[in-house]
Amino acid sequence: MAKAAAKKTAAAASPSVDRRPALAGRTTTATGVKVEVLPPAERISLRAPEASVAALSKALGLTLPKKPKTSASKGGRTALWLGPDEWLVIDEGGNDPLADCATVAALHSAVGISHRNIAISVTGPAAEAAINSGCPQDLSLDAFPAGAASRTILGKAEIVLLRTSNDAFRVECWRSFSDYVFTFLSEGARDAAG
């Protein structure tokens, strides 16, 4: 108990500077679609050969998906398949996947990218159309059901797209592209509403 309390106090004492996420709080709505910037999350880029997947899955507390365009989610943590040896792991529960991977001896590369990406949620019945304003993928529920994930493009920016439910998407992009991506999605939302 005492130890936990001390740790908590130490965490509260630092940092001495504030975190200023890009686009914090930005949101826009149109008929049938809402676009909003999501709060910061912990993220890692995970690379590993097939042989390490089991050990990493265990350490991360979820089963790393092995099929293209899929993701796995558990306890606020989601792993998105991006390539045969590549996952984007997002933790919205305040736990650090980088620390979890650090305990794994099996061959892998885990690199912290919590600040590299920002996330924008696009929700509502017109969300699919809003994203299709600049994303050439087939986002119908058959081709891209809830849980589907893909690294793709929106206009001239690279994004990672995750369908969190039938009417909701999470769009991840690099920090400096976030203004472009948010603006593009806002334009798409305006048109999808029409």
Binding site: R19, R20, P49, L107, A110, D179, D191
Partner: protein, 997 residues
């Protein structure tokens, strides 16, 4: 009243809903649902334009997208002036204002019409011949004048205030064309449950059911059935119905581009709706139901206003309730014109005569026309039309010669038959085949997963069309994965059917060579021009097309291609299929730049990347420069300072105390894995295996050819982990270069690359006071020179947040680069700034960074190198591992030319007059007294005023440069020759003591 030519009880528009509009300043009244064409015709206006080359008066030829003549300018306001709008497509809205084009001073009196009299000058291929002499006049006189005279309409001169949108879509079955065939196919596919998109260019679906009064489907009038069908399709979840949408291009793998005209038909579109929406559709199967286009008859003066296609006149009557004249002549080579004559006659319009080129045709429409008392003349031709601004007569002659008879008319309807619209099929790379019996090109060999149905497939008759289309729609659905079909095929109760018609020039088109019998109205090509092209040696139809311009430009030969081909074939004495058909090009009809650009304008033209520290720099009044997509702080002017004053102050301050610089845009790659060092050995010239964790090294990356590709400082964080930095502009390509080699050449290495450019904000703190500024904020890192020497890296905390702290210098001063997670970038910068203020530190921008590094002779890849510079050329031999046996570029670097004497080498230059600053890019010569062109031996790559040196400094690539130390060279400039001395590249602190100063 909406016009004297509106027929009561005819057409489908509601007379009650009127709309005011203007044409060339004159006010008129039309009806909602009119096109500009039908509204003008209702008011008796036929003269709407002047032709492209001869400025001949022109009226409406058609009632649709194939219109070559009635191109007008639609003016909504000062910024919205759209040229070349087809009046037959533009829907009327209250307040519409249109102007005619290509005339001066007025439509009825056009000075340019002198071209018509001077037409021998403008015959086929005239621009290749007439203006050839004197040669010099082409550039100065002929070309500018021709360009001024050419082109139709006036481009808008203000930014387009409208917005355009885009949408990607996928479907199982894409049906293009919404006539009877398209609707039947769409119904069949949709009933299986697969995803269907149905598009039609018209405001209302139905295609030729708009005018075919004889069509009955499922017990209803054809057009009524079409509206019921579209209502049914619209209500289905698996169907997207797009009206006012033109499929303009058919690309690889069933990728089709369509433009939806969203608001051009609205009186006040408002700001929410886009003007147009670009649809990019990927379909598993495509059903082409694009119909057929009626051909005109080729005879003398067949372009006079009032002469139009028979089907168009029928559309104007049966859909819009407009009679195209009061005393109408008909000239035909097939049955469809009879139907037009019958409909008009029944509506109370006098039919002066039907002139039929055929000898003794029979059929129900002929009988019906005769029964209505219409005069019919078989085996005769209209050899010319009378009238100028409007047709006034037609002169008729037996087709094999004989007495002429002139009949007064105020309109002539013509039909030479119908041409299947194979444009999209041809764009899909399908090969057409000539049907000798019906004399038409129809889809032959398919190149993609598509099928043609109905008139565009050469299928005649409504019943056969619906059968074919319904079956094709069901098959397309099945092929794209449909399991069950549960619909019923529409039943055709009555239909119209037409026989074949003719191709080429009719008797009225010559062989007399002075008459103008138009083949291509939009490009002013006559039958004579095509014959002349053949006589002048053109044999291929592609050459005839280019020589005459027949079928070119926005028209794409919709009405003209087959006539042009037939005349060429006849003149050549060859059968049509041997002469061949020209290739149809996208777009089918013109597409606006706005639709193509769609969202990519203004802030969405290209991503504008800003660092986490950008807001601070902006608040400080920094001036920014574009570096790739990044905005970088260029310099930080204080009150009253210009750029030079600001940069001089920043440069001095950094060397005197310290400066803060936002280096966040530097590319950063984390290289992780047990083989990380092995990989680095292969990608960089330098040795890495022995670099200890916690130390850094300046690395050079080459291409396979041995030239410098990128550079940057690399820190080893752990035995299996490197933090690599790249140039700002090089970040993406360096990552690709590394990934490419890793995957293709070195796949055996256990190493992975992750871009961390945006994970870390980077604050460079440089100058003698840099450590004093940083130290108070750092936890867990010993900042002493012993513990943290130059070129080392530590992980710890600053301001309580994680940092990768590099001790490194791009200024030659003691320096650090503080990496912090990007969201903390600005706050840590502010904390460092506050510390810096205690020591008189300055913020500096990229210009000062450039000057300071040049004072030290540090190169910038891409400025001091240009892709032809080796490490040796750049004086960087020391960075190439001498004992290394392999790395990318090692063999390239050993090529004879790359080790030859006399290569351009990077050196310093000092102007003899220290106040003179050389121009970057200026050429360098040995002897300025040589004759021009002088022998250039090099050029200036970097040049600045250095306040710290009290003089100008420059870097240059000079042939054999390192052997010329102390030599005087010359830089010839427009205002005189500048003398320079060749020096070493280090201008400041040659011993490098300040790195620890």
């Amino acid at each position: 009243m909406s016009g004297a030519f509106r027929i009561p009880r005819a057409g489908r528009l509601s007379q009650a809903k009127t709309a005011r509009f203007s044409f060339d300043g004159q006010s008129y009244t039309g009806i909602e649902g009119d096109t500009l064409a039908s509204a003008l015709l209702a008011n008796g206006v036929h003269l709407v334009g002047r032709s492209f080359k001869y400025h001949r008066p022109r009226g409406f030829l058609s009632a649709g997208a194939e219109e070559p003549n009635a191109l007008v300018q639609i003016v909504r306001d000062d910024a919205r002036k759209t040229p070349n709008v087809r009046a037959t497509v533009q829907e009327l809205y209250d307040g519409l204002a249109a102007n005619s084009q290509n005339r001066w001073p007025s439509l009825s009196f056009d000075v340019g019409a002198v071209n018509d009299l001077a037409s021998p000058l403008f015959s086929a291929g005239f621009y290749y011949k007439t203006f050839m002499w004197p040669k010099a006049a082409w550039k100065s006189l002929y070309e500018p004048k021709i360009r001024e005279a050419a082109g139709l309409g006036v481009s808008p001169d203000k930014p387009d205030p409208d917005h355009y949108s885009s949408r990607y879509a996928h479907c199982d079955v894409l049906v293009l064309g919404g006539g009877a065939a398209g609707l039947a196919a769409a119904l069949a596919a949709a009933e299986t449950g697969v995803r269907v998109i149905l598009a039609d260019e018209q405001a209302e679906f139905g295609g030729s059911l708009r005018f075919e009064t004889g069509a009955k489907i499922d017990g209803q009038d054809g057009f009524v059935w079409a509206q019921a069908a579209i209502a049914k399709l619209t209500a289905m979840d698996n169907v997207r119905v797009l009206s006012r949408t033109t499929a303009f291009g058919y690309y690889a793998q069933n990728f089709v581009g369509l433009v939806e005209r969203v608001s051009d038909h609205l009186k006040a579109p408002g700001h929410e709706l886009p003007r147009e929406r670009l649809w990019q559709v990927r379909a598993k199967r495509v059903v082409l139901a694009s119909g057929a286009i009626e051909r005109h008859m080729v005879f003398a003066n067949n372009d006079r206003p009032g002469i139009m296609l028979a089907g168009a006149a029928r559309t104007f009557l049966n859909h819009y309730g407009v009679a195209v004249g009061r005393n109408v002549g008909v000239y035909t080579a097939n049955d469809s014109a009879y139907a037009a004559a019958i409909d008009l006659k029944k509506a109370g319009v006098n039919i002066a005569a039907i002139v039929d080129l055929r000898d003794n045709p029979t059929g129900p429409v002929i009988d019906e026309a005769r029964a209505l008392g219409i005069e019919i003349n078989f085996g005769r031709a209209v050899i010319r039309a009378g009238g100028k601004l409007r047709v006034s007569s037609m002169t008729v002659q037996p087709k094999n010669g004989g007495g002429e008879r002139t009949i007064s008319v105020d309109a002539i309807l013509m039909s030479a038959g119908w041409t299947p619209s194979v444009h999209l099929f041809s764009q899909s790379r399908g090969k057409v085949a000539f049907n000798d019996e019906t004399k038409r090109f129809v889809p032959g060999t398919y190149a993609q997963d598509c099928v043609s149905v109905g008139a565009c497939n050469g299928t005649d008759g409504l019943s056969a069309t619906v059968d074919e289309a319904y079956a094709a729609g069901a098959m397309a659905a099945k092929d794209s994965g449909a399991k069950t079909a549960k619909g019923t095929k529409p039943k055709v109760d009555a239909s119209e059917s037409w026989s074949r018609g003719m191709l080429g020039a009719a008797p009225g088109a010559g062989p007399d060579t002075t008459v103008k019998a138009f083949v291509d109205f939009q490009n002013d090509v006559t039958a004579k021009d095509i014959r002349q092209a053949v006589h002048e040696g053109m044999r291929s139809i592609e050459h005839v097309k280019r020589f005459t311009t027949n079928g070119m430009a926005t028209d794409q030969g919709k009405t003209s291609n087959m006539h042009g081909l037939a005349i060429a074939a006849e003149t050549l004495g060859k059968p049509i299929p041997e002469v061949g058909l020209t290739t149809f090009r996208a777009p089918y009809t013109p597409v606006t730049f706005g639709a193509i650009v769609s969202h990519a304008r203004g802030p969405l033209f290209d991503p504008t990347r800003k660092t986490a520290i950008h807001p601070w720099a902006e608040a400080q009044g920094a001036v920014f420069e574009d570096v790739g997509q990044w905005k970088r702080a260029w310099y930080f002017p204080r009150a009253g300072e210009d750029m030079h004053a600001a940069v001089d102050r920043e440069c001095v301050a950094v060397r005197k105390t310290a400066g803060l610089f936002d280096a966040s845009t530097l590319g950063k790659i984390e290289v992780v894995g047990p083989d990380a060092a092995k990989f680095m050995e292969l990608l960089y010239t330098n040795p890495w295996e022995k670099l200890e964790p916690g130390r850094c090294r300046y690395g050079i990356m080459l291409r396979e050819d041995g030239f410098i590709y990128d550079d940057g400082v690399v820190g080893r964080l752990a035995p299996d982990r490197f933090h690599v930095t790249t140039t700002t502009g090089g970040a993406p390509r360096v990552m690709n270069h590394m990934e490419d080699y890793l995957q293709t050449e070195f796949p055996h290495l256990n190493v992975w690359l992750t871009s961390i450019t945006e994970q870390w904000a980077v604050i460079a703190v440089q100058g003698p006071k840099s450590r004093d500024i940083i130290a108070p904020l750092v936890e867990g890192i010993d900042m002493s020179d012993e513990a943290l020497p130059h070129m080392s890296v530590r992980e710890g905390k600053i301001c309580g947040v994680p940092t990768r702290l590099f001790r490194m210098s791009f200024t030659g001063e003691r320096g650090f680069e503080v990496n912090v997670p990007a969201d903390y970038g600005q706050a840590v910068w502010e904390a460092l700034w506050a510390e810096g203020q205690k020591h008189g530190a300055t913020a500096y921008g990229t210009e000062t960074m450039h000057v300071l590094r040049a004072e030290k002779g540090y190169i910038i890849v891409g400025q001091d190198t240009d892709g032809t510079v080796t490490p040796n050329d750049a004086g960087l031999d020391w960075a190439v591992g001498k004992k290394k046996t392999d790395f990318v570029g090692i063999r390239g670097m050993a090529r004879p030319d790359l080790v030859a004497k006399g290569r351009k080498q990077l050196v310093g230059l000092k102007t003899k007059d220290p106040k003179v600053v050389l121009e970057e890019g200026a050429q360098i010569v040995e002897d300025p007294k040589q004759a021009i062109p002088m022998k250039m031996i090099g050029h200036v790559t970097s040049s600045y005023w250095s306040q710290n040196c009290g003089r100008s400094i420059a870097l240059a690539l000079v042939a054999g440069g390192r052997d010329r130390m102390g030599d005087t060279l010359y830089v010839p400039m427009p205002n005189g020759v500048i003398e320079v001395e060749v020096t070493g590249m280090v201008f400041f602190d040659e011993t490098g003591g300040r790195l620890n100063g």
